[in-house]
């Protein structure tokens, strides 16, 4: 019968219309500024720099190796190395960035900087309300805008951050153990050397020219 197909479609539309009043799963709209969906844990937007401890500048994990700057596909990262060094979490002296800018109007949120960073220093943020009236300076994030604490990282990506912390702690423990072992070895070597010189000195004592 002509029109039966349309009628069938209309029944479907009516079912959806009525269903949106009774069935929660058919009511999918979220009224954004008032209500927000929780973000997925893996969600990513723009990169930020992680620091450990209380103070941002000394705790910054970034060592200005510039790997992310080289690997960034749209070239949105700009780094200038500082001449002064600072100790990293292992206590080793490392470089630090004097300038670290990310132009988020160029960034395409691909996460490649995070993947290539060997120091777990750059991670993806979930902040998405970045609109500003100044599209040049307002979207050029400086080092001071980018650094965020490790606690913040823990909050936005708990699983990933715990894994990173575990790995860093392991590395630190290994480094400490190695340092301790090295120190012991050095001490033992020094002792042995001392002993050796002592033993070498004892027999030579009688034949010393002073005697």
């Amino acid at each position: 019968m002509l029109g039966s197909g349309i009628a069938k479609g209309m029944i479907e539309t009516a079912r959806n219309f009525v269903g949106s009043y009774t069935d929660e799963s058919r009511l999918v709209t979220v009224e954004y500024p008032e209500e927000r969906l929780p973000l997925k844990e893996a969600s990513r937007n723009f990169p930020f720099l992680v620091y450990d401890g209380e103070d941002a500048a000394p705790g910054l994990r970034c060592v200005a190796c510039q790997i992310c700057e080289k690997e960034c596909p749209p070239q949105c990262i700009y780094i200038v190395k500082d001449t002064a060094k600072k100790p990293d979490y292992l206590g080793k002296m490392q470089f630090q960035p004097r300038v670290f800018d990310i132009d988020v109007s160029v960034c395409m949120s691909c996460q490649i900087c995070v993947e290539v960073c060997p120091f777990e220093a750059i991670k993806m943020d979930t902040e998405y309300e970045l609109s500003t009236s100044d599209r040049f300076d307002g979207l050029l994030l400086k080092k001071e805008d980018l650094w965020k604490s490790n606690e913040y990282y823990q909050k936005i990506h708990p699983t990933e951050a715990t894994e990173v912390d575990r790995r860093l702690a392991e590395e630190k423990a290994k480094a400490e153990a190695k340092a301790k072992a090295d120190a012991e070895k050095a001490k033992a070597a020094a002792d042995a050397k001392k002993a050796a010189t002592a033993t070498a000195a004892t027999p030579s004592a009688p034949t010393s020219p002073a005697a």
């Binding site: 002509l2 069938k8 893996a42 990513r44 691909c110 490649i112 699983t159």
Partner: protein, 391 residues
């Protein structure tokens, strides 16, 4: 008797005006530029249409408005650096684009993704196919004047799959997920259960969608016997994907090449009979059903294990000199990448074979003799994304 017509592109061609039986010229031809701001052209795309009354006499597709040097960028960034750019080719199907590029470079570098990664790739690719075909049906109906309902229903379902993508890859559309030799991250906790739920409920949505549309008299009248593409012409013009299969040619790269682990799945290849717009729509709906079968099996069978080839490396990746062509059955057709390596950190040559562009070349043959309103519908059924056409 012929008339020279000057197009804005500068090329002139001659068209025969309609002649009355007594030999006198009856009426004038009208040239209309549809696009690039026309809402029915799915982006910035122009069709120079020469009309006789309402009938199309000539049609010239003009593209390039969205050209952004994709291939040149691919040659000047590292192999990995091109991966996020492939997301932006066909922005509805970033995961299949990733797969095609990863497959090509894996061929070049001799990497073999582990089993779990292969399963994840099949799952994400089939979910992408669902997204693409659902949206296509919505857009096609919108081109026909069904301005809200089918598209909104399609987008409602698409949203659920995009949520899955976000939970897995971190982004809804620009996933940048696959790597040479595997995938970037493993599935998060509970993802498989969520995916299974979406897949199980998807067939219900398809029932609803088909009830809404399949027998609708207006849809049938607007699409049947419109834009017929004969199989010989389709093969000669190297059309691929659902468009080719709607013309009745049994050619699906998932079956032909059996790339990845597609030989482990049972699925049928739906074929059309007439090659008209309605067949193209139906082939896609049926393909979604087959995708659901693949997904159910893959989600049940996925093994545990690593997701990256241990030989793969992220930094300092330099494949040996050589060349390779990798292709997959993307939702729109054969998506191929051709990469030549000279041993350096970036490819010497990087070429994309985009299905949308090649499927679009046949537009004129399908449109001649049809009305202007049908041109919009035919273009909608080709399923183009201008990001991929222009690159």
């Amino acid at each position: 008797m012929s008339v020279e017509t000057e197009t804005p592109a500068g090329k002139s061609y001659s068209v025969l005006p309609k002649t009355a039986p007594d030999g006198s010229i009856d009426g004038e031809l009208l040239e209309v530029a549809m696009g690039p701001q026309h809402p029915s052209t799915h982006g910035v795309f122009r069709m120079d249409v020469v009309l006789d009354g309402e009938t199309v006499v000539r049609l010239k597709p003009v593209f390039g408005y969205l050209h952004r040097n994709h291939e040149q960028i691919g040659e000047s960034t590292s192999y990995l650096g091109s991966m996020p750019y492939t997301d932006r080719l066909d922005y509805f199907c970033s995961l299949t684009n990733n797969w095609a590029y990863a497959l090509t470079v894996e061929k070049l570098a001799g990497l073999q993704p582990p089993e779990r990664a292969e399963y994840i790739r099949v799952i994400t690719a089939e979910l992408t196919r669902l997204v693409n075909h659902t949206c296509l049906a919505g857009f096609l109906l919108m081109d026909m004047g069904a301005l809200g309902t089918p598209l909104m229903y399609a987008f409602r379902e698409r949203e659920r799959i995009l949520d899955l993508f976000e939970a897995l890859t971190g982004a809804r559309m620009m996933c940048n997920y696959m790597r040479f030799g595997g995938c970037r991250v493993d599935l998060p906790l509970g993802w498989i259960e969520d995916a299974r739920k979406v897949v199980d409920e998807y067939s219900q949505f398809l029932d609803e969608f088909e009830n809404l549309l399949n027998t609708n008299e207006i849809l049938v009248a607007r699409t049947q016997n419109v834009g017929v593409l004969p199989p010989e012409l389709a093969v000669n013009a190297s059309i691929t994907g659902p468009m080719l299969r709607a013309s009745g040619v049994d050619y699906d790269i998932r079956k032909v090449d059996k790339y990845g682990i597609y030989d482990r799945f049972e699925f049928r290849v739906p074929l059309g009979d007439h090659g008209d717009v309605y067949d193209r729509y139906m082939v896609r709906v049926l393909e979604m059903r087959e995708s659901l079968k693949i997904l159910q099996k893959a989600l049940a069978d996925i093994p545990a294990g690593p997701i990256m080839d241990p030989k793969a490396k992220i930094r300092g990746f330099r494949p040996k000199p050589g060349e390779s062509y990798g292709r997959i059955e993307g939702p729109k057709g054969e998506l191929g990448f051709y990469v030549i390596s000279d041993g350096g950190p970036n490819p010497y040559r990087y070429r994309v074979r985009p299905p949308s562009l090649i499927n679009l070349t046949i537009l004129e043959d399908m449109c001649i003799g049809q009305t202007v309103a049908d041109v919009v519908v035919i273009l909608g059924s080709v399923d183009i994304v201008l990001g991929e056409v222009d690159r």
